[in-house]
């Protein structure tokens, strides 16, 4: 049973540029995943406005009964978020590592068009290695 259910990457305008699901729980079709992405983008933006404290940069963790959602937004506005089983550890560092993989295997690919859906095999390969559950623990570098 995979601890991570799915991974989303959304560009700065809220478009879903990468979606991958792991394991059987919560599998979604393309339309639903697009909907989740744009919904999250809006909620993330609204949360910044609603926050009673200044200097809030949006929701980082959403805890529900059946899942946790961890979100990381880079300073350039790209959001990475994973949906996982409640209480899964090390998700912040996993998201950081995914961000590094994105800079290495997506942005450095000269044929990748910025802000467009990610179709990079090297990214897929390296990502699946990182996401393998037993390796997540090793990422605290």
């Amino acid at each position: 049973m995979a601890a991570i259910c799915s991974l989303y990457i959304i560009n700065k305008s809220g478009g879903l540029i990468y979606y991958k699901d792991y394991g059987s729980g919560g599998r979604m079709d393309t339309n639903d995943s697009l909907r989740v992405a744009s919904l999250w983008h809006s909620m993330h933006a609204i949360s910044q406005q609603l926050s009673p404290t200044t200097g809030c940069y949006g929701i980082e963790l959403l805890e529900a009964d059946t899942f946790d959602l961890h979100c990381f937004q880079s300073l350039t506005g790209t959001k990475f978020f994973v949906v996982c089983e409640p209480g899964t550890q090390q998700m912040e560092s996993l998201l950081k590592v995914i961000y590094e993989l994105y800079t290495d295997y997506v942005l450095k690919n000269p044929f990748y068009e910025m802000e467009m859906p990610i179709r990079c095999e090297l990214f897929d390969i390296n990502l699946s290695q990182v996401v393998q559950k037993d390796r997540v623990v090793l990422l605290g570098r």
Partner: protein, 186 residues
């Protein structure tokens, strides 16, 4: 979990894969040479180098942020220091210094002590108007634009053109707010 500590330019530089410096310098030289052949006009080459740098910068900024773990800069002053101390070290292995701030802290100079792009270069008489390192200014402009800072980067001094140092002027034109709504109905 506490965010990871920022890493120094030296530490990142030591950890990334590097290529032979000569290969890098000669590749860049060959690129400029080819642009001169293709575009003929020195002015056009300057523009093209700047555009190429911009295209690099808009992608490279994410690598910079991902690998350096730096936090959001509070002001433009800190941003400039970050570029000089961490950015240049991380990607070119050299350090730069920031000087000549104007009164509003929106315009400064980045001085390069060592410039690996020009190791074997002498500008011929026919290329006197060429800003050989114009790619670097484009990179800075592109990178800053992705973190909502519109800038103008120009070369003030260039050793290849007979000056005594490499000096780039970085001028902050405007800071685009990141907050919603974007006021698109105005």
């Amino acid at each position: 979990m506490a965010p990871a500590d920022p890493r120094s330019g030296d530490a990142i530089f030591a950890n990334v894969e590097r290529v032979n410096a000569e290969l890098f310098t000669l590749t860049y030289g060959a690129t400029v040479r080819q642009l001169l052949t293709d575009l003929e006009e020195v002015e056009e080459v300057n523009k093209q180098l700047d555009q190429m740098g911009y295209n690099i910068g808009i992608r490279l900024i994410d690598e910079f942020l991902a690998k350096s773990n730096v936090a959001r800069c509070v002001d433009f002053k800190e941003t400039a220091e970050m570029i000089a101390k961490v950015g240049f070290k991380m990607f070119l292995g050299v350090t730069a210094t920031v000087t000549n701030w104007d009164a509003n802290d929106t315009c400064c100079s980045i001085m390069l002590e060592d410039n690996p792009l020009v190791d074997f270069v002498e500008l011929p008489d026919t290329c006197q108007g060429l800003y050989y390192c114009n790619i670097l200014s484009g990179v800075i402009r592109g990178a800053l634009e992705m973190v909502s800072m519109k800038t103008e980067v120009t070369w003030l001094r260039d050793v290849l053109r007979g000056d005594d140092a490499y000096e780039m002027q970085v001028k902050l034109l405007k800071q685009v707010p990141e907050e919603y709504p974007y006021k698109d109905d105005e």
